[in-house]
Symmetry: C2
Subunit: 279 residues, 2 copies
């Protein structure tokens, strides 16, 4: 093969340049990336002006990133790429609870609380009882499972987005199951909120005719010895954005019941069982 | 189709989200990009750790960009993507001189000089007479063609990389053809040089077992009324890196003769004709 560039053999020419003593996995990933990048440009006949625009977009996306903001993750999320990587790496047998994206708002070290505790510390929102069991694929309860939960408050912000405004650990807590595998806590019925849309990714969504909202959801990180880590949400089915999550996090099996309670101290009830897969 | 995410229908789910009243071209380009990005992740079974690495790499690539440095262009260049976009947009009939990448070192407003002028102002390097004709596809001379040329100096730097060290307009000039279509100037036999390799792209090249060098070349921007703009280089065929240009700029037809002259005031002679395509 000629080492010189031709349009037809562009992929082979670039990939033939890799050295012999490099990581085989790196070689595999890069060869595939080059193949698909070139196929994209060829298929759409990418113009020089579109290439200029793309370079500028990527540069701005990198430059708005900071310790508090990760615009490339947002880009990955809004193109469904984060969900795809999550799905590829968390294939589970039928019946097991499905994964979804972790998101940027988990905080390590939330307080471990007694079952039934109220995690909503700011008094805002409609109260909701979340309860269910952590079980295995055969329906047996799992003892000692840590159910780490977090959600936004009734204004659509996580506590870490409003330090000094929301109480620390507002709408967060960890519940450890006993022999019956059951968990329960009181929080609020979560509300929808927009992802940060004042940067390049927000502009992209605008050009694509898409909104930046995530439908209301409660986050869960469920771990237990001998079982795969489960990172998931439960979603509020009647949310206006349930069919159009800006980051594609919704899976059909994760839309949970939210039942309105009458004449009860708690306004809503959301039962959901988590089915873990053995490692 | 369900609006909810599934691994199998990931592309369709993401692309179905686009609004109806958006630019048809944007919709086409983005749908194709999403298709190939997802195909890449699926084909290599991209791990979460590799995704993390990629996000970090893109972020660092954006953050090293400045007014003087464009690392995303360097990334595009080193993956052969810049050459591919150039090739797609500059397909020419057989016999016409081929395009190659423009590069970041052209400067508008170089002095227009009499034929035969010496553009090497720092006295360094081996002198070389560049000459030839600007002709059409039938071999007829083109009058009034502007031949804008630039190269590095004998130390491997363009004048704009060393302000205050190199004379202004060192190794740059514009030559306008007369009725015979011919051009000639004296410069130096160019030398190879590395692209900036102290950033993320340089690290990438290292991991891929690749060097950062470009083989020696003279840049040309040739324009004439009624003809397509030609952006190209001529390459020094005996360069150590002629078969491994870090940015894949070499095309077989652009490797020019460089003949050593004996007993002449000028050490080298490089004849090359530029064949333009009508618009």
């Amino acid at each position: 093969m000629t080492p010189y560039f031709t349009e037809d053999a562009s992929v082979e020419t670039v990939n033939a340049r890799m050295g012999k003593n490099i990581s085989p996995r790196l070689a595999e990933v890069m060869a595939c990336l080059v193949k698909h990048l070139h196929a994209f440009a060829k298929e759409v006949h990418l113009t020089q002006e579109e290439w200029d625009y793309g370079i500028d977009f990527l540069t701005k996306t990198g430059q708005i990133c900071s310790g508090e903001r990760q615009e490339f993750i947002l880009l990955s999320d809004t193109l469904g790429f984060s969900m795809l990587v999550d799905a590829i790496n968390n294939r589970r047998p039928a019946g097991a609870t499905e994964n979804t994206v972790f998101g940027p708002f988990h905080v390590d070290g939330a307080p471990e609380l007694p079952m039934g505790s109220n995690i909503s510390l700011d008094g805002k929102g409609e109260s909701c009882l979340f309860e269910g069991a952590v079980i295995d694929l055969h329906g047996n309860p799992i003892r000692g499972a840590r159910v780490d939960v977090w959600s936004d408050n009734a204004d659509g912000f996580y506590d870490v987005q409003q330090p000094g405004i929301q109480p620390k650990w507002n709408n967060r807590g960890i519940f450890v199951t006993g022999a019956d595998g059951r968990y329960s806590f009181v929080g609020i019925k979560p509300v929808c909120y927009p992802i940060p849309d004042d940067g390049p990714v927000g502009k992209m969504l605008g050009h694509l005719g898409r909104h930046p909202y995530r439908p209301a959801h409660m986050h869960y990180l469920v771990t237990a010895p001998g079982y795969e880590k489960l990172v998931t949400h439960t979603f509020v089915g009647d949310d206006a954005y349930i069919d159009s999550d800006a980051v594609f996090g919704v899976k059909k099996t994760l839309v949970a019941p939210f039942e309105k309670l009458k004449d009860a101290a708690t306004a809503w009830h959301s039962p959901f069982d988590f089915v873990l897969t053995p490692v």
